[in-house]
């Protein structure tokens, strides 16, 4: 899919436009925030154009957007995200509580492919795709300072899982997860740390491992978060030193 988009269809060289047509007037829409929400519609048109079979998810609130293998909805799951490449990724991964429930019930949700577009809109409304990525969830998430996973927290309540800046060449403070197992380790720690989900912390990992094993015939080996958490800190602040008088 990446090859088809980037090599065959040269998506990184295309110039797009959002236009509004009403009566004889046809204008170019110059609102950057619109693009993020319409790339999913664009992918739908693109899949149809390529005669790729797909089914849509009835629940637009949860991943995936597309089932690329409609006869078996446990494989070929595709979620589309897009963000303004001149800013940090602004999309949400998922609501934390819904996500921890979901991957226990449907462990194959962990293997959703994220098709991510980094777009630019010029001042005159020309849309270009600067980057395309296909990523797994643990390749676009990270820890934060006080939590094992990067969470949006409002009024002390945990809301969304938020993405890392996974493509940065500049030094970042926290690296993305290396493995699925470490991502699960961080999630479990967050289930415990979050007062709203702590009552599930005792059994969440076991349930997940059982369901995952049922699905894939493999029992994952999840490290304890305290054993891996430091490996995701990529830079240490230089300790403050008193000047010698």
């Amino acid at each position: 899919m990446y090859n088809l988009l980037v090599i065959d269809d040269k998506i990184l060289e295309l110039h797009g436009q959002i236009r509004f047509l009403l009566g004889d007037i046809d204008i170019i829409v110059k609102q950057k925030d619109v693009v993020g929400n319409i790339m999913q519609e664009w992918v739908k048109g693109w899949l149809a154009n390529k005669k790729v079979e797909y089914a849509l998810n009835d629940n637009s609130q949860m991943p995936p957007d597309f089932y690329l293998n409609p006869s078996n909805k446990t494989i070929g799951l595709l979620e589309v995200k897009a963000f303004n490449r001149n800013a940090s990724p602004g999309f949400d991964i998922a609501d934390f509580r819904m996500y921890i429930d979901e991957i226990v019930k449907k462990p194959y949700m962990l293997d959703v492919d994220y098709l991510i577009f980094g777009y630019d809109m010029s001042d005159d409304g020309v849309v270009t795709i600067q980057d395309v990525w296909i990523k797994k969830v643990w390749e676009i998430t990270r820890r934060m300072k006080d939590w094992p996973i990067n969470l949006q927290i409002k009024d002390k309540v945990v809301h969304k899982i938020r993405p890392a800046v996974w493509y940065s060449t500049a030094r970042v403070e926290y690296n993305v997860f290396d493995t699925k197992e470490d991502f699960i380790s961080a999630l479990e720690e967050a289930v415990y740390q979050n007062p709203d989900t702590r009552d599930r912390a005792g059994t969440w990992k076991i349930k997940f491992l059982d369901e995952y094993e049922k699905q894939y015939g493999v029992r994952l080996d999840i490290p304890r978060w305290q054993n891996v958490s430091n490996s995701y800190v990529s830079s240490k602040k230089v300790p403050y030193k008193h000047k010698t008088k």
Copy 2:
């Protein structure tokens, strides 16, 4: 302008679309909230198409959007608003503090014409204009329960002046203002009531009247809010009655 839009160009009969074109794929954008923000761009295209001369306001944060008489920017001021006709008007009139400063400095700002579109977007993305209005600010604003003007208040701080539902045929609790003078009366009371602007309450009205008189050669006669406030309550709640045993 209203006639040109509604009678000559039959804007209420047109079917519009927002489309996104990238590569060979051309999709219809089905996001209702986008329309509100692009009608201003559409009016720009429409004015150009009609060969109507105009200048744009450099400051996009304050009204007006258009000067229809570019050689004299105190007349022919036009502000464009649009909202989803299936909901209440969602646009802001102006930031309260900026507005009370602005109409003292530029009393002709009080006479801005608001060109307002009530649009609909169907489930398949067809945009239609359900209503068009040209209104003065006092015809689209009203009092609220605890304030003489309908304000957005967040964390006890006054932010935006918000519009009334001026077109409702159903019973509304508070009517729009009848006159420019009553609107000014309500604004003055709000300047006093708002802790952030109270220090200006002693002189605000005098300054405004002086500037308005300089501009138009007329001294307005502003009633006291307490004398007119009750006339804008259009319905009284029926008092609660104990059932007789």
